[in-house]
């Protein structure tokens, strides 16, 4: 049997709820008239578990044909595109401090243009550089956001 997304998701919520509940038990529970920091997380944890257990069981029992309708995750090229966009975002976040905003934003823009279908490399390079320059000026100089400058411009 292949791993299906819906049961896996509910299972993740179940694990999350369990870990969270365990964490709440380490907090001071207080008494009924003076509830401590742990009471409310304890209740939330119980709720999460109480909801995800029946959902998990039901989703495991469900027929696979029925599930396929609910889980139309992309395949092939479509999937590659989504992953590529996600990786671009990760790249931006991880390298923002070391490389600086201008480099990262240009690469982000270029990559998105390329992945989402712009063919001409000249256009990609031109738009990316323009985006980086204009947005840096707008955010850093006009709106005063302290964006990292990175190695090239420090």
């Amino acid at each position: 049997m292949t791993l299906r997304a819906l049961p896996v998701t509910f299972f993740c919520f179940l694990v999350l709820g369990g870990a969270y509940l365990a964490g709440s038990l380490n907090l001071p529970m207080g008494s009924a008239d003076r509830p401590g920091a742990g009471l409310y997380p304890f209740l939330v944890g119980i709720t999460l578990i109480a909801l995800s257990v029946p959902l998990f069981i039901r989703s495991v029992r469900q027929k696979e044909t029925q599930q396929e309708k609910e889980e139309a995750f992309p395949k092939g090229k479509d999937l590659k595109r989504v992953v590529a966009v996600a990786l671009t975002i990760v790249f931006f976040i991880v390298l923002l401090k070391p490389l600086g905003y201008t480099v990262c934003s240009a690469v982000l823009m270029g990559a998105i243009l390329r992945f989402l279908g712009l063919r001409s490399w000249e256009k990609i390079v031109l738009i990316s550089i323009l985006t980086a320059a204009i947005s840096y000026y707008l955010f850093a100089s006009v709106l005063d956001v302290p964006l990292p400058r990175g190695i090239l411009f420090s």
Partner: protein, 512 residues
């Protein structure tokens, strides 16, 4: 001699005085500018499928730090009701709803466009939005103050019950599986407990990360779910530039017959929308369905619906606008938002150090009346923006999607970073974007998550205060009349659908 008349008169006078004061606030330079900027952004995000009012509000909350709370709220509210205007443009011209609240408009709006009446449909939507939006604000102005007066008597148990019931309503009415929505509520409440605990300041679930002590912020979560999540969805099924129906300016005038048919639905839509707006839930969306159903039911020619009936455009497009005014009532009178968009407004108020609640109106009248007055002005601006300039906004749709998605991503990343200059927020943004994408694919509703994240701390604080007040006696806490009534309503909303299904099963045993 006429004590009641006196009381009524004074209430009216208060409202009018308040409104006059509010116009004074709203007409100041920065507020007028903020209002214009807000409705402009609202129209643009309304036109664009993919980014909606919630993402846009999350994006702009950081940039309001330099402004006062009144100016900030005027701008953010402008995005909210402005997006309802913009949504219809895309729907009618491209047959792709710009906003979820315009889905119903697509039925008859696109049919009208195909018959060459796109201009009329656009004009009727804009005018209907204006008429109903204005009606909604009038109702807001008269409903909110008395409600706040009643709410002054609310203690922590009432607030606890109100918040809980609000979350229950949203999960039940949101469409899709209610139990999945409840799971989202639980997830949102969980995220809301990360950080310093509100009473003793004890750090919870921070894994020793100092930055997490401030809690999981609303901006990265909302921007992740609604911004990054949407970009990933669009990346999956990227299409070219949508084909658009061209409209000439002189076609914008509906005929006299069309006006006559469109006007009553506008008023009815305005009424329906406002009252649905008061109920916790995705008010704007529900109101369009309700208005469409109503118009079809009372129409003399119901067979035209679905084939380009102007009532099917006028009613829903009016309803979603006055629903936004209705949704503002619980926020401004009680300090409890019942819709994701008003939850964003509450988040903004809290960031600006404003304590929302029934005292807001008397203690900070400039916020309440300023925002109410700005909504009148904003609706007028929107009418001008969306009627003669509709072509300009429609041309945004000609921007290639790859460029648009790149810009939206950049805005999400920089917007989130600018809140605390923190990389951690960026990781939360990305994480929530991924979670949002996957959960959306699995047909989870994101609204309960956002609302629970915002309401979670309030729920915990009122629960603990209530228990403290009643000395740990849960029965004493929930048996207060108003609390009990609210909780019973919540239970009814959960049980009723199951009960109805059960009754159907008993009546038709063969089909079970």
């Amino acid at each position: 001699m006429f004590p009641f008349r006196g009381a009524f008169f004074s209430l009216n006078m208060d409202s009018l005085q308040g409104l006059a004061y509010g116009f004074g606030v709203a007409f100041s330079g920065p507020n007028l500018l903020a209002c214009f900027f807000g409705v402009l952004v609202g129209t643009v995000v309304g036109v664009l499928p993919g980014i909606g009012p919630i993402g846009a509000m999350a994006l702009l909350i950081p940039s309001t730090f330099a402004l006062g709370p009144t100016t900030a709220l005027i701008m953010l509210a402008g995005i909210y009701y402005g997006s309802m205007y913009g949504g219809s443009t895309t729907t009618i011209l491209v047959n792709v709803p710009g906003e979820a609240a315009s889905v119903v408009t697509a039925i008859d709006g696109y049919q009208m466009a195909r018959k060459g009446r796109a201009g009329a449909a656009l004009a009727v939507s804009a005018v209907g939005s204006f008429v109903a939006g204005t009606l909604g604000i009038v109702a807001l102005m008269f409903f909110a103050p008395p409600l706040a007066e009643v709410a002054l008597k609310f203690g922590p148990p009432e607030y606890f019950a109100l918040t809980l019931v609000g979350l229950i309503f949203l999960s039940q009415l949101g469409g899709g599986s209610a139990i999945k929505s409840f799971l989202m509520v639980g997830f949102g409440l969980l995220l809301g407990t990360v950080g310093m605990e509100p009473i003793s300041g004890l750090p919870r679930f921070t894994f020793g990360q100092l930055q997490l002590g401030q809690g999981v912020e609303l901006v990265p979560v909302a921007m992740g779910l609604y911004g990054i999540g949407e970009v990933l969805m669009i990346a999956e099924r990227i299409t070219g530039i949508p084909e658009m129906i061209k409209v000439k300016f002189r076609e914008l005038f509906p005929t006299v017959a069309e006006w006559k048919r469109a006007f009553p639905p506008m008023l009815r839509g305005g009424g329906v929308g406002f009252f649905i707006g008061l109920i916790p839930g995705p008010a704007a969306i529900l109101s369009t369905f309700a208005s469409y159903a109503l118009e079809k039911k009372i129409s003399k020619h119901p067979q035209e619906f679905g084939k380009g009936a102007i009532e099917g455009v006028a009613g829903p497009e009016s309803a979603n606008n006055s629903a936004t005014a209705g949704a503002m009532v619980p926020l401004l009178a009680l300090g409890v938002p019942f819709a994701p968009a008003t939850a964003m407004l509450l988040g903004a108020l809290i960031i600006h150090g404003v304590q929302p609640g029934p005292l807001l109106m008397s203690q900070q009248p400039e916020i309440f009346w300023g925002v109410v007055a700005s909504m009148y002005i904003g609706n007028l601006m929107l009418l001008i923006l969306n009627l003669p300039l509709v072509g300009v906004f429609a041309s945004i749709l000609r921007l290639p999607q790859h460029l648009l998605m790149g810009l939206i991503l950049l805005l999400c990343l920089v917007g989130t970073y600018s809140v605390n200059n923190s990389l951690l927020d960026l990781y939360i943004l990305f994480g929530m974007g991924g979670v949002g994408y996957i959960l959306r694919k699995l047909k989870f509703d994101m609204a309960p998550l956002i609302l629970a994240l915002v309401l979670g701390p309030m729920l915990e604080k009122t629960l603990r205060q209530s228990l403290f007040m009643s000395r740990g006696d849960v029965w004493a806490m929930i048996s207060r009349p108003l609390t009990a009534a609210l909780l019973l309503t919540g239970i009814t909303v959960i049980v009723l659908p199951h009960l109805l299904r059960l009754m159907k099963c008993i009546h038709k045993p063969s089909k079970g």
